[in-house]
Amino acid sequence: MNPLVVEQVTVAYDRQLVLEDVSFSVPEGKLVGIIGPNGAGKSTLMKAMLNFIPRMHGNVFVYGKPYEKQRHLVGYVPQRNSVDWDFPTNALDVVLMGRYGHIGLWKRPRKEDVDIAMQCLDKVGMLPYAKRQISQLSGGQQQRVFLARALAQDASVYFMDEPFVGVDAATEKAIVQLLNELKMRGKTVLVVHHDLQTVRDYFDYVLLLNKRVIAFGETESVFTYDHIQKTYGGKVTFLSAAHIVG
């Protein structure tokens, strides 16, 4: 059974269609890159799948059941700039938030949850910063805290919205390592991604999106010159496209 099946998802803002009839199905343990130009609806697709914005039409199934019934199986890493980093809290506290779904309403985190949060911080190399106020972290470190929080959630399918934006080389490497570790553990990860150069190195599957699905499938066969041109409306020059495809 596929961990994620998306059927004919359609989203409109003010009667204007931003996503049209998006369908795809992801096998277990794959890293999927969602690629497309600005305004192609990449983030919108993620938010629509998570029910943050209403879908006009379409269904999302997680391990065979509707997403609404399987929320606990889905982890989400929002864009870094979506929260106020001056909020009075420290890195460990943010990672602990990933455990809230397991802890349940109004109960306090147990020692066990704190231990898991610490392990997750350790995995992204942020253990020394556990008690650091979050506004004092660099952009890359903040991104790693968000990743640690998603790990603490212990989900089966992960959605990550542009985790590579504005991070340094060390963090990028750490994220890639983490993605591969998740994959080894049979997790399925969808990543909204911008950098065409790295698509081939990072992702097993790729979803080329521009309001509609231009192409979906294994990176090897789908990430071709024609498809990229079609996705970007012919704006990628011949040379750079040839370089990307390799």
Binding site: L50, H72, F87, P88, T89, M97, Y100, W106, Q133, R149
Partner: protein, 261 residues
């Protein structure tokens, strides 16, 4: 929010005919809710941004409230009702039953906050994520809004409409300078608010000055002290730290130059 509550309170008074905290609470909640809906409507259907929309709606509601308040004062024997104290507040106008209502509401609010502290924290920090892990975001947000409206209505009589929002925000801002933990910030803000309240009410009693402005002056003084003298984030400690850094740096440079010579 306080500004939006005023017309609701006036209408509640006109309908009910006398002063009652509970009826006022309902009135304030209704007009507060209508104001919120108006703001959201404007943001969604026009190109006007949220801050501008809030400005437009709140000033209209406040204007409406003042009109109603003046009307009540001229008719209905409003002078005896004490409703005009709502503008600048008068703690002395509180009756025994008011105090009971205040106490019960305060205890209920503190309990609610303590019980759902974790949830309130996550929906304020990262609402999308909270929704993703199955926290009932809209419900809790509604509860939080209800708590704020209740605080506003209860505080109105003591500090008045004009300064209520200042009392909501200033102690919290002051507390932010002393701590990096939300838990501590909450208790500190409560403490600062209580301190300003007691001091303001006391001086208001002996000096025959409206309570509201005095309370706010005290809260603001606490804020300025925090802004200047808080150990980590305060302006003075920052300047002292920078001065020490500069001196050690200069000493090091001099030492180096001495070595080279």
């Amino acid at each position: 929010m306080a500004h939006a509550a005023l017309p609701g309170i006036c209408i509640a008074f006109l309908l009910y005919g006398q002063k009652s905290l509970l009826v006022f609470l309902i009135g304030a909640a209704c007009s507060g809710y209508i104001a919120t809906v108006c703001i959201q409507f404007i943001v969604k259907h026009t190109r006007i941004k949220e801050d501008a929309a809030i400005g437009i709606v709140l000033s209209v509601f406040f204007g409406l409230g003042i009109v109603l308040l003046t009307w009540i004062n001229q008719h209905e024997g409003g002078n005896q009702s004490g409703i005009n104290d709502f503008l600048f507040g008068k703690a002395a106008s509180l009756t025994g039953s008011d105090v009971n209502v205040l106490t019960v509401t305060a205890i209920t609010m503190i309990t609610t906050i303590l019980v759902f502290f974790k949830e309130f924290k996550i929906i304020t920090f990262d609402r999308a994520f909270a929704q993703g892990i199955g926290v009932p975001v809209s419900l809790l947000n509604g509860v939080l809004m209800f708590l704020i409206v209740s605080v506003v209505v209860i505080g109105l009589q003591a500090v008045g409409v004009v300064l209520m929002s200042a009392l909501l925000i200033t102690p919290a801002l002051a507390a932010r300078y002393w701590t990096e933990k939300l838990e501590w910030m909450m208790w500190l803000a409560g403490g600062f608010g209580a301190l300003s309240g007691v001091a303001g009410a006391y001086i208001s009693l002996i000096a025959y000055v409206p309570t509201g402005p005095l309370v706010i002056i005290f809260a603001t003084m606490l804020f300025i002290c925090s802004f200047l003298f808080a150990p980590k984030r305060g302006l003075c400690s920052k300047m002292i730290r920078r001065y020490i850094q500069r001196r050690t740096l200069r000493a090091k440079q001099l030492y180096k130059r001495g070595e080279q010579a």
